[in-house]
Symmetry: D2
Subunit: 364 residues, 4 copies
């Protein structure tokens, strides 16, 4: 049995929904410009009423996109990608009165709904929240999704700064627990620095010793890769035998490296245009079943913005998408939780311990 609750679709025979008008649309006045009064999506399941009681569920949704109505159905589109003349769904009511219904309770445990109890689950985790069950649930989900879903990792560079956490991540990739890796220039650079020099920003990833002139290490790594023309070629020719990137290349796990203004280099694979980088990340976010974002504020928020709270599987069933944020700071975890989605779960801890825990429990 899958480790998540079944999806309960809305009851469209409910009087208020039965009386709902069809959704209206207006044409986009220009490429990338929306008609005033457009409807923006949440990451909950959203249904568009086509009239006559035909409600269409938007698939591969995300936050802050718009719904474009087409003959074949409804498409979720980022505003910047809307083309002139496309029919944009209008209206801001979420309860059906504009022909749009946002279904926020599709995955609610039945017991809770029936108990009428005002007590429930704390909405915000802090460092003092008990996380034992969060871990147990995560292990179950990952075991399930390894073979039946799509696990997307979003990594900050700190994962590569410690020997054991770097090894653990590489092992998880090797064992099939990663279907896509989204990160930045720094993660790849420091993973390679560790392979070349056993350091991260010049500090030994095991002994903590600062290596003389170690601040050159990441610059030398970047230069070597640029000299060879690609990560893959550089790693082959330089005989890089370990690490996170190595494991991804071996398993043919797609890696998206998004550029930022903080980058040295960058490595040749880094996508420097933020729009194109979003597009490349969105390919994996739209089909994710579980996302784990670790030790990175920028990338976690970016991927959080583009990940739906549910996924329509190929057989038509609807399941929740899990989104885990692992960070040391309540502030950052809260920021993500404030996305307006019930599915973001924070585990407040050090990324190193998290990785080591995970591998220890999943290596079976």
């Amino acid at each position: 049995m899958p480790p998540f609750p079944p999806y309960i679709p809305p009851d469209f025979t409910r009087p208020d929904l039965a009386a709902a008008p069809p959704a209206s649309t207006e044409k986009a006045p220009r490429d990338g410009v929306l008609p005033a009064g457009f409807h923006a999506t949440s990451n909950h399941p959203e249904y568009v009423h086509l009239g006559g009681g035909r409600w269409l569920l938007a698939v591969e949704s995300r936050m802050d996109a718009v719904l474009v109505l087409e003959d074949e159905g409804v498409r979720v589109v980022e505003p910047r990608l809307v083309r002139e003349g496309e029919r944009v769904v209008m209206g801001r009511a979420e309860n059906g009165e504009d022909g749009i219904y946002v279904h926020t309770t599709g995955f609610e445990p039945l017991a809770d709904a029936s108990s009428g109890d005002k007590f429930g689950f704390r909405s915000r985790g802090t460092r003092e929240t008990p996380f034992s069950r969060s871990y147990d649930e995560l292990y179950d989900i990952l075991r399930h999704d390894r073979d039946n879903g799509s696990i997307v990792w979003v990594l900050g560079p700190a994962v590569a700064f410690d020997r054991d956490s770097r090894d653990a991540m590489a092992s998880l990739v090797g064992a099939g627990y990663c279907h896509a890796l989204l990160a930045g220039n720094a993660l790849a650079t420091h993973d390679l620095e560790a392979a070349f020099f056993h350091t991260g920003l010049g500090q030994d990833i095991y002994t903590q010793a600062l290596v003389p002139r170690g601040h050159y290490n990441h610059l030398d790594v970047i230069n070597e890769v640029l000299r060879h023309g690609s990560l893959e070629r550089a790693m082959a020719e330089l005989g890089i035998g370990d690490g996170i990137i190595r494991a991804c290349l071996e398993r043919r796990v797609p890696v998206v490296l998004a550029g930022s203004i903080r980058d040295d280099g960058p490595l040749p694979e880094v996508i420097t245009d933020s729009g194109r980088a979003q597009d490349a990340m969105r390919v994996h976010a739209r089909r994710a079943t579980t996302v784990i974002a670790l030790a990175t504020q920028l990338h976690a928020i970016a991927v959080g913005n583009m990940t739906p709270g549910y996924r329509v599987m190929d057989d038509g069933t609807v399941r929740p998408v899990y989104f885990y944020v692992v960070d040391m700071s309540e502030f950052i975890a809260d920021k993500l939780a404030n996305r307006g989605s019930a599915q973001a779960r924070a585990i407040l801890t050090n990324a190193q311990d998290f990785m080591v825990n995970l591998w220890h429990n999943l290596r079976g």
Copy 2:
């Protein structure tokens, strides 16, 4: 008298420096690829020995760039901008033995050097460090640099989320205390959201009330600007009369908005390519005399990387460049302090209080 210590250049008649060889160079093998063994710059004053006791100070320097030797002198170039065949200065010793001298003590107070006291100034500020003098010094520097320098602000969006801090920043711009503003899509978007709706991410910037459907506000703002084609046009036609961006437009203060993968929109002025954004930011960083980075980790580190610790003024004098980081978190402040530069100064506090304090003391 300027509120900073005089620059004491190195004594090149010192035996070890007098005996130093000329710096050697190698040609870059390809565009963006460096010869192995290249010298990477710090943000301290660095001198290149041309031979015969002629030492050349690199101007408009930065961290992690290389020195390219040309007929007219030495140029500080980011590795990705090095062109094939350019002569890159080689060597990693910083003490002259490779013909390169990194001068770390040019701005040291004389008293300290002579006292031989092992006690000094704490290298890392925490929330419990006394900041009274830091503020007093900052006021002096800003008053001096308003007319005799170049003050560069690096702002996170939080500055626009509070009425008083937004007003304070706009007033500082209006009073001449800002020669360039470096920020992201979010700062500009939320500054305009405040002007249109008196909210930031849907929360009233004074009363803290969450406005119904306020999460549409920033999307509507972006769409309006895109419809008008530019920030300037949108603000004129919509009658935007206040705010930080408004103040910059009025004073013709250059604004660089760098894109990121977190962006909605973005606004038309946002530079979405991280390399081109770095180039645009570097124009101001290279000539900055004071930088104030506020409530933004990504931009603070990016600008920190590209700002020299000194500036050669038009009259040939050398002065320190001040770099202030204002943040709530010791972790982020430490990250910047670890840049290897003595000049980064952290003030651990809320960006709102900082702004209000500053304007209160500078408005005269």
Copy 3:
């Protein structure tokens, strides 16, 4: 007009309350031991039904105390202070069905109640919450309470580590904005260290310079006070002319110093027994109208526990008690907000800026 909402008492003619039984009591079986099933107080106004529609409001309440019924009324007593045989009010329902009514909406703005709007005020502040209005309201409250209330300060030592914040606090005391000061050994010690040596833990409170052998300073201060026998005598004989403690002595503002296991010394005035210290603090907490807790987790939580959310004034009117927490950390602020009380307000900032802001705005 006072800067707070009027108190709306419960309507005891409401059918459910009209039908409520009288509260029941049981005798405490032993000193400091409660009958099982005792009622514990919140910090909201709580009413005890004596029968016949006579409801008695508990005065000078606090969290986690019990209600002892006496001939003259109902007394709020800490469990450890309950004496054998005293009649403890029983029952855990808060809606009247046990004869106890907890009135959580007495200070709610009428507009909100009537609007039926699901939007309201964010329950938790973060560093990005706009604080302009919080400050403005605080200024109003303090101006009002200086002459018509009781302002209790709860201070961590950091307030004395910076020259300007120490001066600001002393000035606030001098101007009548402090009716009681609750702190620990460290605040008093470092305030005196600043007076003697111009340092805090050996660091100059203005220049940030670490003074040679400065770690002796606080030990020497403590020893001097012990030699003189009391703070007051030591300050007189040593000619201490400034500081927070000095200002309190001059204005005859009561100072309660509670001991902790972290203390050096302690100073003679420190109350080393935690029960007796709680009793001494409670004298001021029970009559406070505004509490400001600054840069101290231990003391803020301790005072938070013992401060009611309302105060019955001498003329019988009921008013809210304001409780401000000023800290750098969302975690600590959240811990206090989780006290289950609506009245705790967090301002996330550095204690120094807070103090300086306050004095700047109140000095008139």
Copy 4:
């Protein structure tokens, strides 16, 4: 071979030490009052010169105490415990010129000393420091000290808020890895709350569910223990079969519970006088070989103050005392590291993960 470096005593034949005068003393003028100019101890090995080249090592030392000279040797005494007329060692030079020598390099790895390398180990850990080796070393030390040392745990209540971390700590006690437990009222209360109700402050320690009226749980627990008169009796009569306190009672591991002004209750075993609590904690701190302080700022600093950096074993050998601080916050870890001692090691992570990791690796 023990997992720590050998102790290299000072070379007292060195000219400067050979020329050192004998230490001078002055009589304490009154109980708890020191002669001006007293010497205060660090937590490094300190030697007192008795004259004629006889140097005496202070045993069971601590920070901020004084040295009392007696016929049988030198005793380290907290200032408040000095009695009138006792001979207090005078002088503040640490290099021998006052007859006192503070030996800061006794445990330095020889390699480092000889390398003359300016690079070394980072003095401050952050969340991004690699901790793999810190863990490996800690496992070695704990395995060694279980049978050959004294492991003292200092615990905040958060350890009992999570099922797995509470179980892990109880198991570590059961397996002999704890020779003394220092904590506060809250740790014991919430450990018992978990045993009674499976909650911590009313939140289920596994499912995170908030239990209805769960805020009564800790009050009921305290009342039950008070009714039975002692922890031991309450646990026996109520059939408490698990938890940290239970494990300590079974293994006869001493538990010191220090009171604070934040306490409800407190439990009967809590020592409410801060001086007496310090005395009881110091019994264990003075003979500790390893201290692990977890998720408690107050207790970690208190125990840090009273723990020496070295221990003279019964056979006369000198070994380092390890002091680990486990916390989420750089600020708190830095505060402890600033104790002026080289031996404090921070691991920045969540206490829950730390406990689970530890038990997983030590259960063998």
